[in-house]
């Protein structure tokens, strides 16, 4: 896998605010790469740097091996799908899609072919002569995609492109984006604060927080093996327990839980002896006859029936735990409120993180 983008110790501050603090990572060719983080984490600043709208205070950015920090946006073979789509309101859809090609100096026949091809790809051929104001949000989104992909960029940047769409459309666009990426083979760099979107679409995810890269990995790695509390908390739901590390060696730690159990679980950061945090995802905690692995008892204090799942809140010797259970059959949701039931989780599904 060749490297499409190399970000090397990039820092950026706006006034006294440190937006990015020595950020480094590589993005592979043909990769669907997502920068995930809460607002203010620096992901949009990073994306704008890749596009050329911002330049770092220090560090360098390589695009296919070429330093681009001093290259203006119109000379970078990178296109952006803007959050607001930024379609030119005075041009027809056709003209919008052709704009980049005209600036690249393509000849008329080639432009016409390419525009037709792109409009067809996003199923907008019949609307070629319309203006952006006459389109729905989803249609605008598709034209923005067609416009950005038409010049065959080396990298496509997507700035929260789904956030303005309603839920159903968003789900459909996720699949469409993923297909488009596979078909074109263009590197996609996607920015979002929606962890579900990131997990669903990405080859790899970079979780950003506080202007730093917290973790980079595949969606499974990010979700199942978070390296710190920030990642475990931001991506998905989890239970955090204050625990005491008794012994720590080779990625494993023996800990004592607040409800008195001594167990050995994975510990990616080689937690030092003393206070630490144990993270267990709710769906990893099994109840009743499904309880296995490390088992103990808990009392159901609250439950939320969601249809496919039921979320339970448990009291385990004064510690609150959340568990969710798939209702595999009609009789799935049978544990009554107030019942004391066996509770268990497999040691390998929990993680000890620095406190």
């Amino acid at each position: 896998m060749s490297k499409a983008i190399e970000v090397k110790s990039v820092s950026k501050s706006f006034g006294t605010y440190q937006a990015l603090n020595s950020v480094s990572f590589d993005i592979g060719g043909n990769e669907f790469f997502t920068m995930l983080g809460p607002s203010g984490c620096g992901k949009t600043t990073l994306l704008r740097m890749l596009a050329g709208f911002e330049s770092p205070n220090s560090g360098s950015i390589l695009l296919n091996g070429r330093e681009v920090v001093d290259i203006p946006p119109h000379k970078r073979r990178v296109n952006t799908v803007f959050q607001s789509y930024a379609l030119f309101p005075h041009m027809t859809l056709e003209q919008n899609v052709a704009y980049g090609l005209e600036n690249l100096g393509w000849d008329k026949a080639r432009i016409r072919n390419r525009v037709g091809e792109m409009l067809e790809r996003v199923h907008m051929t019949s609307m070629a002569k319309r203006k952006p104001a006459q389109l729905s949000g989803g249609q605008r989104q598709r034209i923005a995609l067609a416009r950005a992909l038409a010049p065959e960029p080396e990298v496509l940047l997507l700035d929260e492109p789904l956030s303005a769409l309603d839920l159903k459309l968003r789900q459909a666009m996720r699949d469409e984006l993923r297909t488009l990426q596979r078909d074109t083979g263009i590197t996609f760099v996607f920015v979002t604060h929606d962890q579900e979107e990131a997990l669903d679409m990405s080859d790899r995810i970079a979780v950003l927080g506080g202007g730093e890269v917290q973790q980079i990995g595949t969606p499974t790695e990010i979700y199942e093996e978070p390296v710190n509390r920030f990642v475990a908390d931001f991506v998905g739901e989890t239970n955090f327990l204050d625990v005491e590390v008794l012994e720590s060696a080779a990625g494993q730690a023996t800990i004592r839980t607040p409800f008195g159990l001594s167990i050995t679980v994975p510990s990616p950061g080689h937690a030092a002896k003393g206070r630490a945090t144990l993270s267990v995802r709710p769906e990893k905690i099994n109840l009743g006859d499904q309880a296995q692995g490390i088992t103990f008892e808990g009392r159901i204090t609250n439950k939320n029936y969601m249809g496919g799942y039921t979320h339970y809140t448990l009291d385990v010797a004064g510690t609150e735990l959340r568990a969710s259970r798939r209702n595999a059959s009609r009789e799935g949701d049978t544990i009554p409120l107030g019942a004391t039931v066996p509770v268990g989780f497999v040691a390998g599904s929990a993680r000890v993180l620095a406190a």
């Binding site: 596009a51 050329g52 709208f53 203006p72 946006p73 119109h74 000379k75 990178v78 296109n79 952006t80 803007f82 607001s84 930024a86 379609l87 030119f88 309101p89 005075h90 704009y99 980049g100 600036n103 690249l104 203006k131 416009r147 950005a148 010049p151």
Partner: protein, 309 residues
Amino acid sequence: MTDTTLHAPAETDSAPRARFWHDLSFWGLLPSWLLMGFALILPIAIIAAVSVATRGAHGGFAWDFNLAGYRQILWNEGWTGELEFTPQYLLIIARTFLLAGATTLICLAFAVPVAYFISRQPPGRKAILVYLVTLPFWVSMILRVYAWMIILGKDGTLPKALEFLDFPAGMSFMFNDGATLTAMVYTYMPLMVLPVFASIEKLDGTLIEASHDLYGNRWVTLRRVILPLTAPGIIAGAILVFVPSLGAVLEPSLMGGGKEMMMGTLIQLQFGGGRNWPFGAAIAMALMALVMLFLVFTALRAARREAAQ
């Protein structure tokens, strides 16, 4: 059946008029109607009347219908009463349009970057800069024109500065079209900057970024994105500059030296030293007609643009 609907009851005919007088909006608008009547329509009516009156022997005019004023714009009456085509006034009209057009274009060339620069500033500084743009309006126009005479005239600031840079001494930049144009551009600049600023301010900045992102350099972005989207402001500014430029009096008479006339100075001359009120009024009416033509033309174009969108 059709008969009854065709012959509608007669009394309803008076109803709209009665409603009109009882309509509050009529009385509410009355001050505006009066102002328009006395300050706009009446003076124009008087000028229109004077333009078809007969020239008095010692200035003024007599109420005898006469089209001599209009005729004089194009033809001169010879000794024996024969009409001779004289282009001199036509040339003044052409000069006027040329200078007003040049003023508009130069104002535009300066106003677009200025407005763009202001729109890119943080809110507080933006307000100050907009205020500064209007600052010249706070000083009497005649004083500002005199200030330019001090800068450009003999022994003025600019010739002195050039002398310091080893240019020949005693240069003057006064009393030519360049001087007239300088003062006109200076005077009307704010009228261009403000509407252009208003439309650039409304322009979505991500559209400019999108243009750069799609390989458009600054020039392409200006021509294909910024100008088309700010056209309403630019047209408004052009009208605000062009129309008063056509009637400029102070600049050509003070800065241009008054020898080469514009329509404004020509009209002033007829009502003053020339003592030919009907001719002055006729030129004024001609000027107004030309301005109307220009405005109708731009309005039609704007309407067509709108329809095309």
